[in-house]
C-alpha cells in the first residue's frame, strides 16, 4: 500500500513540475504587455520601460522562469502587478473562500447523488427511477451560471429569501460569532445549490448504473439464495462495491466543479480564486494568473491523488 502511495505521489509531483513550466510559458508567451495597461505616453514616456524593468519583463524568458522558480521554492510567489501586494497574501484570502464554496458543493453532490441513485435502484424500472433519471438528465444539461441566475431571480429578487450576492452582510462588524456563522451559511445556500445541482446527475447516474450492474453479479444471486431481504442486499452487499467507482468519478469530476466555481463566484461576487483569476486575467496580472492556475492544478492533482488512494484502500486489487 505504502509503495502504491509513494508511486502515485511522485507521479503527481512530476506532473506538478510539468505544470509549472506549462502555465508559466503559456501565460508569458501570449501577446500583450502588462506594462502597457494604463500607459500614457503624454504623461510619462518612460513609465513603460521602467515598469518592464521593475517586473523583470525585459529579461530573456528563461531568466524570468528561473527567477520565478527560485522564488517559488522559497515560498515567494512574487508581487501582483495590479496592486503590488504579495501574491501569496492575495491567495491566502481567496483560497479559503473558494474551499468554503466547493467543499460543501462536493459533499452535497456526493451525498444527494448517492441517495438519489439508491432510490432509483430500490424502485428499479418503476416511476421513481424514471422520474429521477429524467430530472438528473435535465439538470445535467443546465449551465451552472444560468441555474444561478434563475435561483437568484426566484429566491432573492422575487421572494427575498436568500441574498443575491456578496459573502457577508453590511452589519458584519456588529455581529456575534454565531450570527456570523449563520450569515455565512445563509449566503452559501444559493451558490452551493447552483454548483452542486447541475452535477448531481453525474454522481447519481454512476451510482444507479454501478448498482444495476452489481445486482446482476453472482454474489448477489448467492445472497438472494441465502434468503436475505432485497434492502439488505442493496445496502450491505451491492452498495459497498458500487461506491468504488463513485470515488473515482468524483475525483475526475473535481476539475469541472472548480471550473463552475469560477462563474458562480463571479455571479455571487464571492471573493474566491475563480473570481480573482478572471479579474486578473482582464488586468494581465501575470503573477496572480500563474499562481492561481498553478494552485488550481495543485488542488486537482491532490484531489486525483486522494481519489486514487481511497480507491486503492477500498479495492485491494488496484494496488497490485
Amino acid at each position: 500500500m505504502l509503495n502504491y502511495i509513494i508511486k502515485k505521489f511522485f507521479s503527481g509531483l512530476l506532473l506538478l513540475a510539468g505544470l509549472l513550466a506549462l502555465t508559466f510559458f503559456m501565460v508569458r508567451l501570449s501577446p500583450g504587455n502588462p506594462a502597457a495597461i494604463g500607459y500614457d505616453p503624454m504623461k510619462s514616456p518612460d513609465s513603460m520601460t521602467r515598469l518592464e524593468k521593475a517586473w523583470g519583463l525585459d529579461q530573456p524568458l528563461h531568466v524570468q522562469f528561473s527567477a520565478w522558480m527560485s522564488g517559488l521554492l522559497q515560498g515567494d510567489l512574487g508581487r501582483s502587478y495590479a496592486n503590488n501586494l504579495p501574491v501569496a497574501d492575495i491567495m491566502k484570502q481567496a483560497i479559503p473562500n473558494t474551499l468554503l464554496l466547493t467543499i460543501p458543493a462536493l459533499l452535497l453532490q456526493i451525498i444527494a447523488g448517492t441517495l438519489l441513485g439508491l432510490v432509483q435502484i430500490v424502485y428499479h424500472h418503476r416511476f421513481a427511477d424514471r422520474f429521477i433519471s429524467a430530472v438528473t438528465l435535465v439538470l445535467y444539461a443546465i449551465p451552472a451560471f444560468w441555474l444561478a441566475l434563475a435561483l437568484v431571480m426566484l429566491f432573492s429578487q422575487t421572494w427575498h429569501i436568500f441574498p443575491s450576492s456578496q459573502m457577508q452582510s453590511f452589519a458584519w462588524q456588529e455581529m456575534s460569532f454565531w450570527q456570523k456563522v449563520g450569515d455565512r451559511l445563509w449566503r452559501l445556500v444559493l451558490p452551493v445549490l447552483s454548483m452542486s445541482l447541475a452535477s448531481l446527475g453525474v454522481t447519481s447516474r454512476y451510482i444507479r448504473n454501478g448498482l444495476a450492474d452489481m445486482m446482476k453479479k453472482t454474489f448477489i444471486t448467492a445472497a438472494r439464495a441465502r434468503g436475505l431481504s432485497e434492502k439488505r442486499i442493496i445496502y450491505n452487499h451491492a452498495l459497498r462495491n458500487a461506491l468504488i467507482p463513485v470515488i473515482t468519478v468524483t475525483g475526475q469530476h473535481f476539475p469541472a466543479l472548480i471550473s463552475s466555481s469560477v462563474v458562480i463566484e463571479l455571479i455571487f461576487s464571492w471573493p474566491g480564486m475563480g473570481r480573482l483569476m478572471v479579474l486578473s486575467s482582464f488586468a494581465r496580472d501575470y503573477p496572480v494568473i500563474i499562481a492561481c492556475t498553478f494552485l488550481m492544478a495543485v488542488f486537482v492533482i491532490i484531489g486525483t491523488l486522494l481519489a486514487d488512494i481511497l480507491t486503492a484502500l477500498a479495492d485491494p486489487r488496484i494496488r497490485l
Binding site: L14, L15, G18, L19, L22, T23, M26, V27, S30, P31, G32, H125, L137, V138, Y140, A141, I142, P143, A144, F145, W146, L149, A150, V152, M153, Q157, T158, P255, A256, I258, S259, S260, V262, V263, L266, G274, M277, V278, S281, F282, R284, I289, T293, M296, A297, V300, I301, T304
Partner: protein
C-alpha cells in the same frame, strides 16, 4: 420500457433538428433582425410580434436567440472537428507505438487534464485579448483534444493485440495503412459518441465564456452573452435571460439523449 425510451430518442432527434433548422433558416426571414433596434419597443413582453420579447435596445430576443444559435453551433462544430483532428492522430500514435513514446505522450495528456479545462480556456482567451470566433474555436479545441486522444489511445492499445492487426502486420502492410484502414474504422463507434458529448460540452463552455464577457462580443449575439444582457433586469424582464438559457438546455439535453442512445446501440453490437 424500450418503446418508451425509443419515443424519447425520437422526440429528441426531432427537437434538435427543429432547433438546427430554425437556426439555419433564420436569415431567410427579413423580419428577424438580431441587431436592429427600435427605441419605441424596449423591454417588451413576449407577444405575437416578438415571440421572446425585446431587450433594452428594443431588439427582438427571438431573432437574437436564433442568430446566437448559429454562432454557438458553428463554434461547437468546428472546435469539435478540430479537437478530433488533433486528438485522433495523437491517440493513434501513442497507442500504436507504445512503450516510451506512449509514456511520454500520455504524460502530456495528463498534464493538460490536470488544469481545469474551462479555467485554462478562459485565462488564455483573456490574455490573448482576441475575442473573434476563430480564436474562441482554436483555444477551445486546443484544450479539448485530450479526451479524444485518451480514448483513441486506450482502444488502439487493446486493438493492437488482436489477431487481425497481427495478420495485417505479417502481410507487410505499412503502419500508416494499418492505423488508417484497420484500427481507425473500429474506433468510429465510440468516437461518434464522444464527439456528440463534446458538442454539448463545447456549447456549454462557449456560453459560459460569452456570459462572462470573454467569448463572443456584443452586438453579435451568442446564447451566453444574451443571458448576460438580461442579468440587469432579471425580475422585470425575465424573458431576455430565460429564453436563451432554455435554448441551451434543450440543445444540450437532446444531444445527450441522442449520444446515450448511440452508445447503447454500440454496446449491444458487441
Amino acid at each position: 420500457m424500450t418503446g418508451w425510451k425509443n419515443k424519447i430518442v425520437i422526440v429528441a432527434i426531432f427537437l434538435l433538428a427543429l432547433i438546427i433548422i430554425s437556426v439555419l433558416v433564420a436569415p431567410l426571414f427579413a423580419r428577424l433582425d438580431p441587431v436592429n433596434h427600435s427605441l419605441d419597443e424596449t423591454w417588451q413582453k413576449p407577444s405575437l410580434k416578438h415571440w421572446f420579447g425585446t431587450d433594452k435596445f428594443g431588439r427582438d430576443v427571438f431573432a437574437r436567440v436564433l442568430y446566437g444559435g448559429r454562432i454557438s453551433f458553428l463554434i461547437a462544430m468546428l472546435a469539435m472537428l478540430l479537437s478530433l483532428f488533433i486528438g485522433i492522430p495523437y491517440g493513434l500514435l501513442s497507442g500504436y507505438l507504445g512503450k516510451k513514446t506512449d509514456a511520454l505522450l500520455s504524460w502530456f495528456i495528463n498534464l493538460f487534464m490536470a488544469i481545469p479545462q474551462f479555467l485554462l480556456i478562459l485565462t488564455i482567451i483573456a490574455i490573448l485579448d482576441k475575442n473573434s470566433v476563430t480564436w474562441v474555436i482554436i483555444v477551445i479545441a486546443l484544450f479539448s483534444w485530450m479526451d479524444v486522444a485518451r480514448l483513441v489511445r486506450n482502444q488502439t492499445l487493446t486493438l493492437k493485440e488482436r489477431d487481425f492487426i497481427l495478420a495485417a502486420q505479417v502481410t507487410g502492410l505499412s503502419s500508416l495503412r494499418i492505423l488508417v484502414r484497420h484500427i481507425l474504422p473500429n474506433l468510429v463507434g465510440s468516437l461518434v459518441v464522444l464527439a456528440t458529448l463534446m458538442l454539448a460540452n463545447i456549447i456549454l463552455i462557449e456560453s459560459a465564456l460569452s456570459f462572462i464577457g470573454l467569448g463572443i462580443q456584443p452586438p453579435t449575439p451568442s446564447w451566453g452573452n444574451i443571458i448576460n444582457d438580461g442579468r440587469q433586469a432579471l425580475v422585470g424582464c425575465w424573458w431576455i435571460s430565460i429564453f436563451p438559457g432554455l435554448a441551451i438546455i434543450f440543445t444540450v439535453l437532446c444531444i445527450h439523449i441522442i449520444g446515450e442512445h448511440i452508445q447503447e446501440k454500440n454496446v449491444s453490437r458487441y
